[in-house]
C-alpha cells in the first residue's frame, strides 16, 4: 500500500492537467468543478488508506521511505523523488486533502459564473499537489519543490483577478516575500548538507537519515546558523515577523483561496517544517528562543492590528497571522505536538471562518449589486444583523469563533491552552517563560475581543446595509452551506483528538490520541530535551489555575466586545477620537508596509537606476565609446592625406621608392 503513496499527489496533478489544458474547451462548470473535487477527494481516500495501514504498524516502525526515482545526482549530492510516510506527514496529508476537498466543493458554488472558472480549479489542484509534495517529500529538496510550488500557486491565486492592480501587486508581494524566506531555506539546506558532509562525511538531505545522525550535531554553533536560516524560510511562508505583511494583502484572492491557502494549509508549512526538523531545532537553544519570541510577538502584534480593521477578511487575515504566531510559540518552547495540534484545529476553525465570511461577502455582494450600490461588500460597517438572513452561516461562524476564542469544550481551547501551558512550564527558556506566557495570554484576550467584535458587527445589531438591499440578502446554496457545516463540526469537536492529560484524567482517562500518534516523530527531540534540561515540576493546581485564567481571559475579551459593540456602540468612536494617533497607527497596520517600502523597495530601485544610468551607461559605455571617439578623432585628422587624386598617390609612392632606394644605396 505504501508504495502507492505517489498516487496522493498524482491525483491533483492529473486534475490540474485536465482542467488546465482542456478546461477552456470543457466550459461546463459542473464538470470542471467535479474533476477538481474528485481529484482531491481521491487523494483524501488514498491518504486515509495509507493512514489505516500506518496505524496498523507498531509505533516504532511508522516511518517508511518510498523512492520513486532518482531526481538529481551529481557527485556526493543526491536527491530523489521519494516520499516519507510517518505520523506527521500522514496527519498533514489527511488535513490537507480533507480540507481541500471541502473547500473545492464550496468553490463550485462560490466561484459560480466567474470568468476563468477552469483556471481557478486548475490552480487549486496544482496547489494541493504542491502542498502534498511539501508534506510528504522525504528530503529537503523535494520539500523545497513543494515549498516553492505552493508559493507559486499562492501567487497565481492571489492574482486571480489579475486585471485589478491591487490583486496582482499582492500576488507579487507574496511571491517576493516568500522568496526572501526561500533564500533562508536554501542557505539552511546548503549549510546543513555541507557541514554534515564536510565534518562527518555524511552527505544527505534526507530527513530520516538526518534524524538518524542527529547526534552528530553539536548544541548551538553551526546548528544555530542552520536552524535560523530555516526559520527565516518559515517566517516567509508562515507570515511571521518580519515577513508577515504579504498575508493580509493576500486577501485580494478569492475567499476559498484565503481559506485553503492562507489559513488552513500553506501558511502552516513553516510550522510543519520545524516539526519535521525538530531534532535539529531542539539542538539550538538560541534558535528555539528566537522562534518562541518571534511567535509570541507575532501573535500579539497581529492581534492588535486585527482589532482595528473593518474589512471582514482582513480581520481574519491578521487573526491567522496571530494564530500562526501561537504555533511558532509552541514550536519554540519545544511543544511540538501542541504546535501541530493547533495547526490542525486552526485549519478547521479558520477555514470555517473564512468560508463563512465568503458566504457573507457573496450574499452582500449579491444584495448590493441588486440595488446598484458600490459599497464595499467586505466592509463590516456595511453589515450588521445578518443573523436573521443567514442563520446557518451564522451558526457555523459562531461555532468557529467560539473555538478560536478558546471557550472550553471547543477545539481551540484544547490546543491553545496546551500551548499557553507549555509556554509557561517548558524547561527551555527559564525566566523568559513568564513573558512568553503573558504575550500569549494578551494575544488570547485580543483574539477573543476582535473575533467577537467581528461577529457582533457582522451578524448582530441593526442591519446597516444600504436601504432596500436587505431583502436581497439570503442564505447561500447547499453547496456552500454543507462544507461550512462539516468544518464547523470539526471546529467544535476537533480538539478531542488531543485532550490534555489533566482533563483526560478528570473524565476517566481519555487518552491524548494525537500525542501518542505523533510521539515517534518527535521522539528524538524529546529525548534530547529530557537529557539536556531539567524538567521543573509544576503542580496540577498551577496548571488548573492557568487554564482557568485563560478561560477568564477569553470571557473578558468577549464581554468587552459585547460592551463596546452591542451595549454601547458609541464607545469605540469616542475611543478613536480620544486617541487619534494610536488608532490611525493601528488602523494603518503600524505603517510596516510603508517602512519596508522606504527601507528596502525604494532604495533597491534607486540603486538599480543609479547602477544602470551611472555605471553601465556612464562608466563602462563611457570608456568604450570614449575609446571609439579618440580613434575616430585621430582618423579624422589623418584622413586628409587621402586626397582621392590618383597622381597624388602615385607621386607619394614614387617618392617613397626613391627614399627607400636612396637609403639602401647611401647608408
Amino acid at each position: 500500500m505504501f508504495d502507492n503513496v505517489w498516487l496522493i499527489p498524482l491525483f491533483p496533478l492529473i486534475g490540474f492537467l485536465i482542467n488546465g489544458l482542456l478546461g477552456k474547451k470543457i466550459k461546463n462548470e459542473t464538470i470542471i468543478g467535479t474533476i477538481g473535487s474528485v481529484a482531491v477527494f481521491a487523494s483524501f481516500i488514498t491518504a486515509v488508506m495509507i493512514f489505516m495501514n500506518l496505524i496498523g504498524l507498531p509505533a516504532n516502525e511508522r516511518s517508511v521511505n518510498v523512492k520513486i526515482f532518482s531526481w538529481i545526482s551529481a557527485g556526493n549530492f543526491n536527491a530523489d523523488i521519494a516520499f516519507l510516510i510517518d505520523p506527521l506527514s500522514c496527519l498533514m496529508m489527511l488535513v490537507v486533502t480533507g480540507i481541500s476537498t471541502v473547500i473545492h466543493i464550496y468553490s463550485i458554488g462560490y466561484m459560480h459564473g466567474e470568468e476563468g472558472f477552469y483556471r481557478f480549479f486548475a490552480y487549486l489542484n496544482l496547489f494541493v499537489f504542491s502542498m502534498l509534495l511539501l508534506v510528504s517529500g522525504n528530503n529537503l529538496l523535494l520539500m523545497f519543490v513543494g515549498w516553492e510550488g505552493v508559493g507559486l500557486c499562492s501567487y497565481l491565486l492571489i492574482g486571480y483577478y489579475f486585471h485589478k492592480k491591487s490583486a496582482s501587486d499582492a500576488g507579487k508581494k507574496a511571491f517576493v516575500m516568500n522568496r526572501v524566506g526561500d533564500f533562508g531555506f536554501l542557505l539552511g539546506t546548503f549549510t546543513l548538507f555541507w557541514w554534515l558532509g564536510q565534518t562527518h562525511d555524511v552527505w544527505t538531505i534526507q530527513f530520516t537519515e538526518l534524524a538518524k545522525n542527529a547526534d552528530l550535531f553539536p548544541t548551538g554553533g553551526i546548528v544555530t546558523i542552520i536552524t535560523l536560516c530555516f526559520f527565516l524560510g518559515a517566517t516567509g511562508k508562515s507570515a511571521q515577523i518580519p515577513l508577515y505583511t504579504w498575508l493580509p494583502d493576500a486577501m485580494e484572492g478569492p475567499t476559498p483561496v484565503s481559506a485553503l491557502i492562507h489559513a488552513a494549509t500553506m501558511v502552516t508549512a513553516g510550522v510543519y517544517m520545524i516539526g519535521r526538523m525538530s531534532f535539529l531545532f531542539i539542538r539550538s537553544p538560541e534558535t528555539m528562543l528566537t522562534v518562541a519570541v518571534v511567535g509570541a510577538c507575532t501573535a500579539l502584534f497581529a492581534a492588535t492590528i486585527g482589532t482595528a480593521q473593518n474589512d471582514i477578511k482582513r480581520v481574519l487575515a491578521y487573526s491567522t497571522v496571530s494564530q500562526l504566531g501561537y504555533m511558532f510559540l509552541a514550536m519554540g518552547v519545544g511543544a511540538f505536538t501542541a504546535g501541530i495540534f493547533h495547526l490542525m484545529t486552526h485549519a478547521f476553525f479558520k477555514a470555517c471562518l473564512f468560508l463563512g465570511s465568503g458566504a457573507v461577502i457573496h450574499s452582500m455582494h449579491h444584495a448590493l449589486h441588486h440595488v446598484h450600490s458600490h459599497d464595499d461588500a467586505q466592509d463590516m460597517r456595511n453589515m450588521g444583523g445578518l443573523k436573521k438572513f443567514m442563520p446557518l452561516t451564522y451558526l457555523t461562524f459562531l461555532t468557529a469563533t467560539i473555538a478560536i476564542a478558546g471557550i472550553p469544550g471547543f477545539s481551540g481551547f484544547f490546543s491553545k491552552d496546551e500551548i499557553l501551558w507549555q509556554a509557561f512550564a517548558n524547561p527551555l527558556h527559564g525566566s523568559m517563560n513568564t513573558v512568553l506566557w503573558a504575550f500569549g495570554a494578551c494575544a488570547a484576550l485580543l483574539t477573543a475581543f476582535y473575533m467577537f467584535r467581528l461577529v457582533f458587527m457582522t451578524f448582530h445589531g441593526t442591519c446597516r446595509i444600504k436601504a432596500g438591499a436587505e431583502k436581497h440578502l439570503h442564505e447561500s446554496p447547499m453547496v456552500i452551506v454543507v462544507p461550512l457545516l462539516i468544518l464547523a463540526f470539526f471546529a467544535a469537536v476537533g480538539g478531542y483528538f488531543g485532550v490534555p492529560k489533566l482533563i483526560g484524567d478528570l473524565f476517566g482517562g481519555i487518552p491524548n490520541y494525537l500525542e501518542h500518534f505523533l510521539s515517534p516523530v518527535f521522539a528524538n527531540a524529546e529525548a534530547y530535551m529530557h537529557a539536556h534540561t531539567h524538567h521543573a515540576h509544576h503542580s496540577h493546581a498551577l496548571e488548573w489555575g492557568l487554564m482557568g485564567t485563560s478561560v477568564v481571559i477569553a470571557v473578558v475579551g468577549i464581554s468587552v466586545a459585547y460592551m463596546l459593540y452591542m451595549v454601547n456602540p458609541d464607545i469605540p468612536k469616542k475611543f478613536t477620537s480620544a486617541f487619534p494617533v494610536l488608532h490611525r497607527a493601528v488602523y494603518n497596520k503600524w505603517y510596516v508596509d510603508e517602512i519596508y517600502d522606504f527601507v528596502f523597495v525604494n532604495p533597491c530601485k534607486a540603486l538599480g537606476r543609479l547602477l544602470w544610468k551611472g555605471f553601465d551607461v556612464l562608466v563602462v559605455d563611457g570608456i568604450v565609446n570614449g575609446v571609439a571617439t579618440v580613434v575616430m578623432a585621430f582618423g579624422g585628422v589623418i584622413r586628409y592625406f587621402q586626397t582621392g587624386q590618383i597622381y597624388n598617390y602615385a607621386w607619394t609612392m614614387a617618392f617613397g621608392v626613391v627614399v627607400i632606394v636612396g637609403y639602401y644605396l647611401f647608408k
Binding site: 532518482s70 551529481a74 492574482g159 546548503f190 548538507f193 553601465d616 562608466v619
Partner: protein
C-alpha cells in the same frame, strides 16, 4: 557514419549553396530550405545522443592533418565529450526554432538573412566540436560575421551602433586570445609537441607565471563573450537591436561559447592560473548576479530586461564553473542548457509581442493576459523557469551551482549569490505583472491576436524541455559526469602544490632516509588527462 559531426556541421553550408540558386523573390522556398537544412542538421545530431558512450573520452572523433606550416601542424580535429555533447544538441535544437520564428518577422533580404543564419550555425557547431585550438579560433571568428550582419542589417533603430559595438568588443578579446594561442603553440613546439590536438596541450606544463598571462588573455576573450561584469555592456545593446532570431541565438548559444571556452580551454590548459584567478572571477560573477538583477529591475524595455537577466544567469554559471567541483560544474553546464532554453524562449516571447505591436516598452503594455491567454500561460511558464522555480529546468542548475559553490572555497560568494533568487523573482515578476496584468487600457492592445499555430508550435519543444530538464535531469547529468570528473580532477591542483612544496624540505632534511616520501607526492599527482588517441 563515422563523420557524423562533419556532416552535421557542414550541412548548413550545403544549405547556403542551395539557397544561392533560389531566386530571392521566392521567400517561401528560401525559408523552407533553411528550415529543412536546420532540421536535417538536428536530425543528424540526434544519433550523437544515442551513440554517446558514457565515458570521459572524446567521441565521434575525426582527426586529419589540415594546415602544415613549418612546425605548426594545424589539424582538422573534431570530437565531442560530455561537456560539448549537450551544447551541440542545444545548438541544432534551437536553430530550427529560430528559423521558424522569423517566418513572418523578416520580409526583406530573406535570402541573405537565411544565409547568415546557416553560416552562423556552422560557426557555432564548429566551435563546440573543435579539438584543435586553431580550428576553434577560426570557427570562433566565423560566427561573428553573420551575427554582425544580422544585427547590422535586420536590427532595430540603433542597429549599427549595436553591431559595431558587439563586433569590436568581441574582436578585442579574440585578438588577445589569438596572441595567447600563438604563444601557446610556440611553447608546444618547444616542448616537442608535434600533434597539436587539444589533449596534448592539456599535458603541457606551462610555468605558472606564463600561465597567468595566457589565462588572462583567454579569460578576457571568454569573459567578454559570457559576458561578465563589467564587460557586459555590449549585450543589452546587441540584444535589443538584434532581430528576434538573432537575440535567440545570441542568448541561447553564443553566450555559451564563453562559458564553454572556460571549461574546455582556459581552465584545463592553465590550472594553476585558474586557481589564482578564482576569487577574482567569482567576485565578478557575484557582482554580475546582483548588479544585473538590480539594473534589470529598472529597465523600461522588455528585451533589455531579459538581456540583463542573462548577465545574472551567466554569473551563476561562472560561479559554478569556478567552484571547480563536480556539483558546481555539473550545475553550471546544466544552467548553460537551461539558460539557452528559457532565455531563448523569453526572447521569442518578446519577439511575438514586438511583431504585433512594434514596441518593447513595458509601459506600452498591460493587461495582455485578457487578450492573449495562451501567450500568457506560455510566458508565465517561461518566466517561472527563468526565476528557477523548482520543477522547471532553471532550478536544478541553479541549485547544483549553489551546492557546489557552498562546498568549495567560494562559500561566502555563494551566500551572496543565493540572494539572486530573490532579485530574480522581483524583476521577472514585476515585468510580467506590468506587461500581462492590470487593465487592458491601451486601445492598441485591445485588438491583439493570440499566438497562432506556428508560434505555439515553436514554443512547445522549449516548454517540454523546461519541464523535462526540471523533473528528470539525470539522463543529461549522467552523460556529462565522466567528462566533468576528468576536467575537475585535471584542474584540481592544491594537492600538487603542497606536494611540490613538501618535496624540497623532505629532501633537505633527510635526503636518503625517506625516498618513498619524496616519491609519493609525484605519485599522488592527479593524472593529467590522458590522450584519447
Amino acid at each position: 557514419m563515422s563523420n557524423i559531426l562533419s556532416v552535421m556541421t557542414f550541412l548548413p553550408i550545403l544549405g547556403v549553396l542551395l539557397l544561392l540558386f533560389i531566386p530571392k523573390e521566392s521567400k517561401g522556398v528560401l525559408r523552407s530550405v533553411a528550415l529543412a537544412t536546420t532540421l536535417a542538421s538536428f536530425a543528424v545530431s540526434l544519433p550523437l545522443i544515442t551513440g554517446f558512450q558514457t565515458n570521459a573520452e572524446f567521441q565521434f572523433v575525426e582527426n586529419v592533418p589540415w594546415i602544415a606550416a613549418g612546425p605548426f601542424a594545424m589539424r582538422y580535429n573534431i570530437g565531442i565529450d560530455g561537456i560539448s555533447l549537450w551544447l551541440v544538441v542545444l545548438t541544432t535544437f534551437i536553430m530550427p526554432i529560430s528559423v521558424l520564428s522569423t517566418w513572418t518577422a523578416v520580409e526583406e533580404h530573406v535570402k541573405e538573412y537565411m544565409i547568415c543564419m546557416l553560416l552562423l550555425e556552422t560557426g557555432l557547431l564548429g566551435a563546440f566540436i573543435s579539438l584543435d585550438l586553431f580550428l576553434f579560433y577560426i570557427f570562433w571568428e566565423v560566427m561573428l560575421i553573420p551575427m554582425y550582419f544580422m544585427i547590422g542589417i535586420w536590427g532595430g533603430k540603433n542597429r549599427l551602433y549595436a553591431a559595431v559595438k558587439f563586433f569590436i568588443y568581441t574582436m578585442f578579446g579574440s585578438m588577445l586570445m589569438l596572441v595567447a594561442l600563438i604563444y601557446l603553440y610556440f611553447l608546444g613546439t618547444k616542448a616537442g609537441i608535434t600533434d597539436f590536438s587539444l589533449v596534448h596541450f592539456f599535458d603541457l606544463k606551462v610555468d605558472p607565471s606564463t600561465q597567468t598571462w595566457l589565462f588572462a588573455a583567454f579569460a578576457l576573450a571568454f569573459a567578454i563573450k559570457v559576458p561578465m561584469f563589467p564587460l557586459h555592456t555590449w549585450l543589452p545593446d546587441a540584444h535589443t537591436e538584434a532581430p528576434t532570431a538573432g537575440s535567440v541565438i545570441l542568448a541561447a548559444i553564443m553566450l555559451k561559447m564563453g562559458t564553454y571556452g572556460y571549461i574546455r580551454f582556459a581552465m584545463p590548459l592553465f590550472p594553476e592560473a585558474s586557481h589564482q584567478f578564482t576569487p577574482f572571477i567569482a567576485t565578478l560573477a557575484v557582482i554580475g548576479i546582483i548588479y544585473a538583477a538590480l539594473v534589470a529591475m529598472v529597465q523600461e524595455d522588455v528585451k533589455k530586461l531579459v538581456a540583463y537577466s542573462s548577465v545574472a544567469h551567466l554569473g551563476f554559471v561562472m560561479l559554478g564553473l569556478f567552484a571547480m567541483n563536480e556539483q558546481g560544474v555539473t550545475g553550471a553546464l546544466l544552467q548553460n542548457l537551461n539558460h539557452g532554453i528559457s532565455t531563448g524562449a523569453l526572447f521569442l516571447i518578446v519577439g511575438f509581442i514586438y511583431e504585433r505591436r512594434h514596441t518593447r516598452l513595458i509601459t506600452d503594455f498591460g493587461g495582455l493576459s485578457k487578450q492573449m491567454p495562451i501567450f500568457a500561460t506560455i510566458f508565465m511558464i517561461v518566466t517561472l523557469s527563468s526565476v528557477a522555480l523548482p520543477g522547471t529546468n532553471g532550478f536544478v542548475g541553479e541549485f547544483l551551482i549553489l551546492v557546489g559553490g557552498f562546498e568549495s572555497s567560494l562559500r561566502w560568494w555563494t551566500i551572496v549569490a543565493s540572494s539572486g533568487v530573490i532579485f530574480a523573482a522581483v524583476y521577472m515578476l514585476w515585468m510580467f505583472q506590468r506587461v500581462m496584468f492590470g487593465e487592458l487600457d491601451n486601445p492598441k492592445n485591445q485588438k491583439l491576436l493570440d499566438l497562432n499555430a506556428r508560434e505555439i508550435g515553436l514554443m512547445i519543444p522549449l516548454l517540454i524541455m523546461v519541464f523535462f530538464l526540471g523533473v528528470y535531469p539525470n539522463p543529461f547529468i549522467k552523460k556529462m559526469t565522466p567528462a566533468i570528473n576528468k576536467i575537475v580532477a585535471h584542474t584540481r591542483i592544491e594537492p600538487v602544490k603542497t606536494a611540490k612544496a613538501a618535496v624540497p624540505t623532505v629532501e633537505d632534511t633527510a635526503p636518503h632516509a625517506v625516498p618513498t616520501q619524496s616519491v609519493n607526492p609525484h605519485a599522488s599527482q592527479p593524472v593529467a588527462a590522458p590522450a584519447s588517441h
